[in-house]
């Protein structure tokens, strides 16, 4: 079987080195520019100042990171559960798939800028609207990946299972679900990068605490250094989630890492 997707992402310090170097040199150029131009930190703070502010404000930043993490995890868990459950239903009921799929596509065309304030209006300033928004944003790539993944199953493998007397459920569990896993992880990696951003945006629209609130307040009080501090934290969170999915993928799809050593 040809695998349509690349093997596991990342891998090896040596391969990560160019990326690390390019990021570091970008920061270095930024730092030098700020130093030489004498630009006000109210306009453009140097990376060193952002770092300083992160250390100074660590308690405030941490207490606002926790709600964002909660919203991200709760929203992502919800979306994962619903996407998987729904994908199974859609796989067993093609009619339902035809009826519902357009709705899911439409749900992806809704601009978050418009939807987020409405969801906050309907569900208040607590965790619920953030969870729903994270779920809304991350749900579709995973659902599509799973549905496409099931459809990618080798028909010969299905014929074989049926000749062994396998029911539809057994064919699903033994052939369609494992076939979908490479696709699922591709969708998962896309989804996970949206998750933190969606949570922050939901907070930005209306919340009591969270990185979105840090960004909002810092912007209103002309503190670009704190805005950037929150941005750094959000990036680190996303990278961590990405790394977790990559590890999980390496474990679940370990059969794809064996070479074609003939």
């Amino acid at each position: 079987m040809q695998n349509p997707l690349p093997r596991h992402p990342g891998g090896g310090l040596a391969r990560g080195l160019p990326a690390v170097l390019s990021v570091l040199s970008a920061f270095a150029i930024w730092e030098i520019y700020v130093y030489l131009s004498g630009i006000s930190p109210l306009m453009l703070p140097a990376p060193s100042r952002v770092l300083d502010q992160m250390v100074l404000n660590r308690d405030m930043l941490w207490s606002n990171t926790v709600p964002t993490l909660k919203a991200t995890f709760a929203g992502f868990s919800l979306s994962l559960t619903v996407a998987f459950g729904l994908s199974v239903v859609l796989d067993f009921m093609p009619r339902v798939r035809q009826a519902l799929f357009p709705i899911f596509v439409v749900s992806q065309t809704l601009p978050l800028v418009a939807i987020a304030p409405l969801v906050v209006l309907w569900f208040g300033f607590d965790l619920t609207p953030k969870v729903l928004l994270v779920a809304l944003v991350t749900f579709f790539p995973m659902l599509v990946a799973l549905v496409d993944g099931y459809a990618s199953t080798d028909p010969e493998i299905e014929d074989l299972l049926r000749s062994m007397g396998a029911s539809r459920v057994v064919v699903f569990r033994r052939a369609r679900l494992p076939s979908a896993m490479p696709y699922f992880f591709a969708g998962l990696r896309i989804s996970i990068t949206y998750a933190v951003v969606a949570a922050i945006f939901a907070e930005y629209v209306g919340a009591r605490a969270g990185l979105g609130i840090v960004i909002l307040n810092a912007k209103n009080s002309f503190r670009p250094d704190l805005v950037l501090a929150a941005v750094v934290i959000s990036s680190v969170l996303t990278l961590m989630l990405f790394a977790i999915t990559a590890l999980l993928q390496r474990f679940v799809l370990r059969w794809r890492d064996v070479g074609d050593s003939r």
Binding site: I157, D159, G165, A175, M181, V258, D260, R262
Partner: protein, 251 residues
């Protein structure tokens, strides 16, 4: 006695008549081939036998029972090996037994003693992608045989292999078959393969397929691993002639 008996089987898919009054049988311990041009409906016969399709007319019996009541008659080996790439070889081999409800340990106990004969000993922990084409095909064959069904259905099992590996595999397979005498129905469009392996050969016409010849192969076994004998050679020419005269260049 006939393990498999098909009488007057007709199949129409959409507007296309695919099978036209097919009658054939396979006796216990017999090796029977269905030889026909590509697209003649050879695989349709297997789809009937594995329950993926129903005939419009005619009867199919397995051990004298109608097929509908006996779906456990056939073990099927598809054209490509259809090994599951996410399962290790041993898990692939026990698949059929586990699907039929045998627990994993019992299924392994059934498979393990056979690994050596199939040249797979030491590879049970490998994934299919780590094996050569010939080994994968032997694994697929073992997965079929180990189900211990009355009839083995082999759908062009060596068709996807390169010529050298195919010759190796056919020779190896004949040897295994001579030792075990699995009741086998082979679908192929390779005249030489059909003659080399079969006791009897049914020749199918182009669509709608009907049986245009039934020949018994008189050549003594083993037939492979040595120069082709005169009987086999004459039969090959005869079969090729039948196929070419009825199907033009469709082979």
């Amino acid at each position: 006695m006939n393990v498999l008996d098909m009488q007057g089987v007709n199949v129409t898919l959409g507007d296309t008549a695919v099978l036209d009054a097919i009658s054939m049988h396979v006796c216990s311990g017999e090796f029977v081939s269905i030889l026909g041009p590509s697209g003649a409906g050879k695989s349709t016969i297997f789809r009937l036998l594995t329950g993926a399709l129903r005939q419009d007319q005619g009867t199919i019996t397995c051990n004298a029972e109608p097929l509908a009541q006996n779906q456990q008659g056939f073990a099927f080996m598809p054209q490509r090996d259809a090994l599951m790439p996410w399962l290790r070889i041993l898990e692939n081999l026990t698949l059929g037994l586990e699907v039929q409800g045998m627990n994993r340990n019992a299924a392994r106990a059934r498979v393990l003693p056979l690994l050596d004969d199939f040249g797979l000993a030491g590879f049970e922990r490998h994934y299919p992608a780590q094996l050569s084409g010939g080994m994968r095909q032997r694994a697929a064959l073992l997965r079929t045989i180990v189900q211990a069904r009355p009839v083995q259905l082999l759908d062009e099992p060596f068709g996807a292999l390169d010529a050298l590996t195919r010759t190796h595999m056919q020779t190896w397979f004949e040897e295994r078959w001579r030792a075990a005498r699995w009741t086998t129905l082979l679908v192929t469009h390779d005249v030489r393969e059909a003659v080399a392996l079969s006791d009897r050969i049914y020749v199918l016409s182009r669509r709608p397929a009907h049986v245009i010849a039934e020949v018994t192969v008189p050549a003594p076994r083993p037939r492979l691993g040595q120069p082709v004998g005169p009987e086999a050679h004459a039969l090959e020419a005869h079969l090729l002639n039948i196929l070419l005269n009825q199907s033009g260049d469709a082979i």
